[in-house]
C-alpha cells in the first residue's frame, strides 16, 4: 500500500462546477500538506499548503485537512478551463528534512 493514495482520474467537469480533489494517507506523523498544480509538459508549482489540521482558503481554492481520518481535500469553486491541469498532493514531516511524499496526481479537465 502506498503511503499517499490519490485517484489519477481523469476527472471531467463542466465550467463553473465545484471540484473536489482528495488524497488519503497512512502516516499519522505527516504535518505539512501541500497541493501542487502541474500544467501539461511543465513542472509542478505550489498551489496551497496547510500545517496540521484545518482549512485554508485562497480565492477560489480551499484546502482541508482531516488528520483524524487521514484525508486531505482541495476544493475549487467556479472552476475555469484554465484550471485544467494535474493536481498533486504532497506531505511531509518536520523531522524528515522536508522530504515530500507525493500522491500520483489527479488529472482535471474543465469543459467550457
Amino acid at each position: 500500500q502506498k503511503e499517499v493514495e490519490q485517484d489519477p482520474g481523469p476527472l471531467s467537469v463542466p465550467e463553473g462546477a465545484i471540484v473536489s480533489l482528495n488524497c488519503t494517507y497512512s502516516n499519522s506523523a505527516f504535518q505539512y500538506f501541500m497541493w501542487y498544480r502541474q500544467y501539461s509538459r511543465k513542472g509542478p508549482e505550489l498551489l496551497m499548503y496547510t500545517y496540521s489540521s484545518g482549512n485554508k482558503e485562497d480565492g477560489r481554492f480551499t484546502a482541508q485537512v482531516d488528520k483524524s481520518s487521514k484525508y486531505i481535500s482541495l476544493f475549487i469553486r467556479d472552476s475555469q478551463p484554465s484550471d485544467s491541469a494535474t493536481y498533486l498532493c504532497a506531505m511531509t514531516t518536520m523531522d524528515s528534512n522536508y522530504q515530500l511524499i507525493w500522491g500520483a496526481g489527479t488529472k482535471l479537465i474543465i469543459k467550457p
Binding site: G43, Y49, Y98, Q99, L100, W102
Partner: protein, 114 residues
C-alpha cells in the same frame, strides 16, 4: 531570476549509452532534488542534496549518480541507460528560510531510452 533551469528538454538514448542531465538554480537555495515522474506513479525521489558537497539517495537511486560541487548546479548522471529509465525527470530546489519550505521545479527533461 531564471529560477530552476534544466537541459536538455528532450533526449533519446540507446540502451547502454550514458548522459548527464543538467540542473541549475539561481535562488541561492541549499537543498536540491532530482525526481522522476512516470504515469500513475507520481513523483519519486532519485537523489537529493542538502547543501554543496553533500548528496543522499532517495527512493529510486539505482542506475543514477549525482554530484554537488557548487550551490547552483546539481547534475544527474545516467551511466548505462536502460529502457526502464524512460521517464520525465524534474529537478527542484527548496527555499531554506521561513515558516514553510516550498520546492521550486524546473521544466523537466523528457528522456526516452530505446
Amino acid at each position: 531570476n531564471a529560477g530552476v533551469t534544466q537541459t536538455p528538454k528532450f533526449q533519446v538514448l540507446k540502451t547502454g549509452q550514458s548522459m548527464t542531465l543538467q540542473c541549475a538554480q539561481d535562488m541561492n537555495h541549499n537543498s536540491m532534488y532530482w525526481y522522476r515522474q512516470d504515469p500513475g506513479m507520481g513523483l519519486r525521489l532519485i537523489y537529493y542534496s542538502a547543501s554543496e558537497g553533500t548528496t543522499d539517495k532517495g527512493e529510486v537511486p539505482n542506475g543514477y549518480n549525482v554530484s554537488r560541487s557548487t550551490t547552483e548546479d546539481f547534475p544527474l548522471r545516467l551511466e548505462l541507460a536502460a529502457p526502464s529509465q524512460t521517464s520525465v525527470y524534474f529537478c527542484a530546489s527548496r527555499r531554506d528560510r521561513g515558516p514553510f519550505n516550498e520546492q521550486f521545479f524546473g521544466p523537466g527533461t523528457r528522456l526516452t531510452v530505446l
